[in-house]
Amino acid sequence: MGATDTHLGATGCADTQLADRAASSEGASTSGREYLAYFLHRHLDFRLPELESLIEYEDKNASFSWRKPFGGCIYSPFWYLTLPSDGFARQLCSRSMLLKGCFEVWGEGATWEELQHAVNAYPEHQKLPWLASDMTMKVIVDGWGRVIQQPEQLQYLKKLEFIPFKNPVKLAAPQVTFRLIVSNCYSDHGMPAEVPKRFYFTRQVSLCSHRDVIAQYGLPQRVYLGPTSMDTEMAFIMCNQAKVRKGHLVFDPFAGTGSILIAAAHLGAHTLGSDIDIRVLRDGKTASDGQAVDNWSNFEVYKLQRPVGLIRADVHRSPFRSNLEEVLDAVVCDPPYGVRAGGRKSQSIPERQIRDREKHISATAPYFLGECLRDLLHMSAKLLRLGGRLVYFLPAAPEVYREEEVPQHPALQLVANSEQVLSTKFSRRLITMEKVKPYSASDAEAYHEEQGDPRMAIDMLPSLIYEPRPIINGRKAPPNRALNGHTNRSKFC
């Protein structure tokens, strides 16, 4: 990451003490206030949808608006976001995985003179409450796109003396933190070079703290995991997209080693998982120290509430009673799509003689993605409550992806579609849908009839990924790495 902080670690100031002061400097405005929404340079396509989901999570009716970063580059981390209040911004920061923080911009400019002019012109009544002699402060110099060494940081601090600070300096837990952001990007660092050089002088409203969960639930330390376990950061992003909260019932129909359910359980949800692979779901494995570990072990180690159920079942043959509807708050999953672990479904062989049902191992057949997603959407449309969300990964090789291939359902509305580039030939898209209409079996059937067979180009994915490279002069040709300049991103994603 390109940002460097001089004084890390002192973030949470006494929010309640500051509330009054914030209120007085906000004035009587009811239309909200514009903040700098300063993002991390990660999962670029996910950042705005995540924040929009969290805004809805806080208040379905909250009014907010985006303004594009200066210079117009959408991959710039410096978006402007109008929110109802400082308190609202702090709430977003407590859950976001991809935001660095929310800041009140006192002034910005392409040159130091421009910055100084803008800060001087910023209304006194907005500034003075924060510059008082009874308020402890610290100033951070934060370089984006380039490391700023300490001598240069000190020069910047000196130059900031044009601001009439009366505050005593306190590096640990000050009451107000100011941040001078210096955007100064080298083009060869994999950061978008189109982000203009610019200074921002800001008051820090809140820094995001939720990324601590990545260390808390890190895969390297997890007692039970598999090759396709969802990484912790992404599992929490998915739960944010799904607006998961305490008391929700969250279902992962392709639960595997349960990583998504762990994130949902951390957020206080009741969790339910199913999988067709009983070895992964139930049997677990023997850890290197000889101890048997399984899905339940993770929940015990993390002291999370045990799932209400882990069931071995087939999404194609829903195990739920036929009158069950509107019971789930979210369906969050990573469907099997055949690159690493292909999907399977029940197979019908009516004439098969089965001697011992307790011990019989059921035959299964391949489960193609088109069919699997149709079942997933259908099940979600039925089992989600109105306003509940389906969040899932759709594999998408850029070469064959077409937006029309994103499956649809008459009861579900597409909310977000974010691409994560995994290699030059393969990416996946996080699809977020919300149930906007009550489920109607006849509507769904009519729709599916009209759509015909659920065939997707992506079902040819393995051949696409593992396509042999041509042999040139007795050697394999190098893989084609030119892909719209996206390859650099993988360093940061």
Binding site: H270, V308, L310, I311, F320, S322, S348, P350, I354, R357
Partner: protein, 123 residues
Amino acid sequence: MKLLTHNMLSCHIKGVKNGYPFKIDPVKIEEMDADYDPDFLRHIYPRLEWPALREAAQVMGEPNLPEEVTESMLQNDEEFLRHFHHALLELILEEGALVCPETGRRFPVHKGVPNLLLHEDEV
């Protein structure tokens, strides 16, 4: 498997009409504390098949669920809500079987996980 899950599942063998609710044949039952959240109970109640929960709770050792539940019980009958919570979220079927009420087909529950995958002559 907690009884909330049991309440949602049914036998889906091809041709079976009355596959709900599964009878529980318990071999090992565990009790585990869950966070008490009356709002969740009020939210989930209308989505449950109450007689099925009541019957399952009796088999699993919580005999105190009433036949009828009224709105006022859901709102402020603390004793009732505690029993409801206990039945729904704290009783765990660890070993045993779920038995289809129509065909008698036994779906084994081992290590807390029911195996509901159908055999190839049942699909």
